[in-house]
Symmetry: C2
Subunit: 153 residues, 2 copies
C-alpha cells in the first residue's frame, strides 16, 4: 500500500467511524513529512457548528499541535472532495497539496456533493445566488491604515 | 443612519478595537430581524488558528447562540470583503445576504486583499496553484452508502 492509499484509507476509516457515531461521512488528516499531525471528522451534528467540517477541524488541531497558523509543508488527505470553505481554509493555511478519495461525482447520488456551491461561488458576486453587496462607509480605508501603522509602530 | 450603515459601522468598530488589542483589522456581525445575534473578530494571532476569521467566528457564535447550524434568515455585516473561506462558510450556513464596508480594492495597498486567492480558487482544480488530486481508493462509494443507510435506518 503506497503512502497516498495509506493516508486516504485512514481518512475513510475516520469518516466511517464518525457515521457509526451518528455523524456525517467525512474525515481528514493533516500530514507532514509522512507523519500524521492531526485528524478531524465532521462534527456539525454533534456541535451545531456549521464550520465543523473534517478538514477545518483537522487544520485547527494541527495549528494547535504545531503552535502556528502557518501550516506550510503540511498536506491534507480527505475522505471526500473538500468543499469550497475547506479548500480555501487549506490554502490560506499555506498548504499546497490536497488529496481526496471520493469525488463530488461519487457524492452526488447521496446528496453530499458541493459541486453546485463550487459553481455558484466561482461566479462574480453580482451573478451569485447570494445577495452580496459592497457598501462603502468611509471614503478612506482608515481602518487598514491604522492597522498598518500599528504593525510598523 | 440607516440599518446597513449602523451595523457596518459596528463591524468596523469591532475591527478597530481588535487592532487596538494587537489583532488583525476584521470584525463581523450576524444579524437576524434587526437584532445582533453574534459578533466576531479575527483571532488568528491570539489563537494560532488559521480559520479564526471574524466571519467564521461570528457564524460559530451564532450557531451556539441559536442552537442550530442552520442560520437561514440571518445576515452578515463584515468590516471587510469576506475571503473565499468565509464566503463559503456563510453560504453553507444557509445565509443569503452579506454586506461589507471595505473592498479588496481598499485592502490591496495594505496587503490585506484576497482577490488573488479568489481568482485562483475559481479555476478548475487542475489549473490552480495548489496540487489537488482525486485519488480513488475503492470503485464503490461504500462510505456514502453506509451513511445513507444509517439515515434511513
Amino acid at each position: 500500500m503506497n503512502t497516498t492509499t495509506h493516508f486516504l484509507s485512514e481518512a475513510i476509516q475516520l469518516a466511517s467511524d464518525n457515521v457509526g457515531g451518528g455523524g456525517r461521512p467525512f474525515g481528514a488528516l493533516v500530514v507532514r513529512d509522512g507523519v500524521v499531525i492531526s485528524r478531524g471528522v465532521n462534527e456539525i451534528l454533534a456541535t451545531n457548528d456549521p464550520t465543523s467540517h473534517a478538514e477545518v477541524n483537522a487544520l485547527r488541531a494541527a495549528s494547535q499541535s504545531l503552535g502556528t497558523p502557518n501550516l506550510a509543508g503540511c498536506e491534507v488527505y480527505a475522505s471526500g472532495q473538500p468543499c469550497p470553505m475547506c479548500m480555501a481554509a487549506i490554502r490560506m493555511a499555506g498548504i499546497t497539496r490536497v488529496r481526496y478519495a471520493y469525488s463530488n461525482e461519487d457524492a452526488e447520488p447521496f446528496g453530499l456533493s458541493t459541486a453546485a456551491i463550487y459553481a455558484d461561488l466561482a461566479k462574480p458576486f453580482a451573478e451569485q445566488s447570494m445577495y452580496i453587496r459592497h457598501e462603502p462607509i468611509s471614503p478612506e480605508p482608515t481602518l487598514y491604515r491604522a492597522w498598518k501603522d500599528a504593525q510598523q509602530g
